[in-house]
Amino acid sequence: MNPFLGSLALIPVEKILNTIVGRDPHIAKQFLAFDSKCIEIISRQPSLTLNLRFEDGAVRLSAIDTESLGIEADATISGKAETLLRLLGQKSDQRPLANAALDIHGDATLVQDLQMTIESLDINWQDYLAPILGDVLSNELGEVERSAKDWGRSAGGSIRRNVRDYLSEEARLVPTALEVDSFSNRLDHLRLGIDRLEAKTELLQRRLALLPQAK
């Protein structure tokens, strides 16, 4: 994406973020922990670059890559756009960064800490957007956000179930849970049988040892 156009598009986003940070001392304090840090986010499909910098308690967003800016990112996270976007909705206990579709270079702890910090802030975007956009519009945006999250949760669950069923029942690429249990039970039965055979063999050997030697 053209960095000039990308940077233009980020102007309102940066403004909103810094308005939120400026109005809430708690959020500002949390973000101070990341001061002078830079995280570069690279989307592969579509190809977009976003770098996120924290300077003097403010957030700086740019569509210019760190190489062009002549700075070094403390951490780089790259992946497909949909994978990156999903990070925003996932909780840290779901370990969203432990995703093979994501490449993280540099300070992975920084990325993790940032994700946990954003999650812990539990920002109600509607409250912050209302003074800027007006109550009606920010309420509408809040409804859209909540609907999107609900849809994401139900769609995610549905997709997981459908994929699991497809792989096991239709494509037969993986066994079903029942088949795995049955196989596991037969294995246990076989192991017990082997143990019993082993015990009987030992008993026979002891008895043979006690018999008088044939002349």
């Binding site: 960095p3 000039f4 940077s7 233009l8 102007i11 300077e55 003097d56 740019s62 210019i64 062009s68 800016l69 002549g70 700075i71």
Partner: protein, 253 residues
């Protein structure tokens, strides 16, 4: 630059060929004439887009608190005012221009905003910068390089006064990359002398500005000039379809 039959070196002043020694004076007269309405004319000529281009250029500067920046050909202080906030009390901004009238306007704006504590003002010739080697973290020359008589000398001078790892930003009108954009821009820029006459009472100065844009090196030519001046990792960003371009180069470590 070229030579006439009697061996006097000439250079372009818009579409006109003038002796090299005269160009500086002629350019000086242009900017002395437009200084008071320079910012209004920028808005008119760029339809307000110069503010967005300025923001993007500042982003490319990646300046931080405590750094030193030279706003060369900074004239009315647009960039200096913004840089002053970014580098803070521990940093330094030098607003430099060859034209006294433009600097007067810049100085007045800076004083009006109460920003003079970290901004110094200097009347300089970009071809012979009077600063020590390795002084600045960043040098920005916005819409000024095309007015310099010897651009190669100016780029070499900038390279000298940059700190190792420091960067030069050259924001200038350039060659549109798209034919349609180019044609529309050609037609639109023909209106500038007319607007200049209406707003400043001076159409000749704006005719020079339009012509000087046409005579300025294109993106690749300027890129090579920067490399020849000893800058590395040089690249450029086209904005507005190549109507403007921001070139960036670094002094080697």
């Amino acid at each position: 630059m070229s030579n006439t039959s009697d061996s006097e070196e000439t250079t372009h002043f818009g579409y006109e060929e003038v002796p090299v020694a005269q160009k500086e004076q002629r350019v000086g007269q242009v900017f002395a004439s437009v200084a008071n309405r320079y910012d209004i004319m920028n808005d008119v000529m760029s339809l307000g887009s110069h503010r967005l281009i300025k923001r993007f250029t500042i982003e490319l500067s990646a300046l931080r608190k405590g750094q030193k920046v030279l706003d060369l050909a900074g004239g009315t202080g647009d960039f200096s005012i913004r840089f002053s906030t970014i580098v803070g009390e521990t940093g330094q901004v030098v607003l430099a221009d060859i034209n006294e009238s433009m600097l007067q306007v810049g100085r007045d704006r800076i004083i009006d905003r109460g920003l003079s504590s970290n901004i110094d003002i200097a009347q300089v010739n970009a071809e012979h910068l009077p600063f020590a080697d390795n002084t600045f973290d960043c040098i920005c020359i916005a819409y000024g390089l095309r007015n310099v008589t010897n651009k190669e000398a100016a780029l070499a001078s900038m390279q000298r006064v940059l700190k190792p790892g420091g960067r030069v930003l050259v924001l200038e009108f350039s060659k549109p990359t798209n034919d349609l954009v180019g044609k529309a821009y050609d037609v639109y820029s023909k209106l500038w002398p007319i607007a200049g006459k209406a707003i400043t009472g001076d159409s000749d100065s704006y005719r020079y500005l339009v012509e000087s844009i046409r005579m300025h090196p294109d993106q690749e030519s300027l890129l090579q000039m920067m490399r020849d001046a000893g800058l590395v990792k040089c690249k450029y960003h086209n904005v507005m379809g190549g109507v403007c371009a921001i070139h960036i180069g670094f002094k080697p470590l």
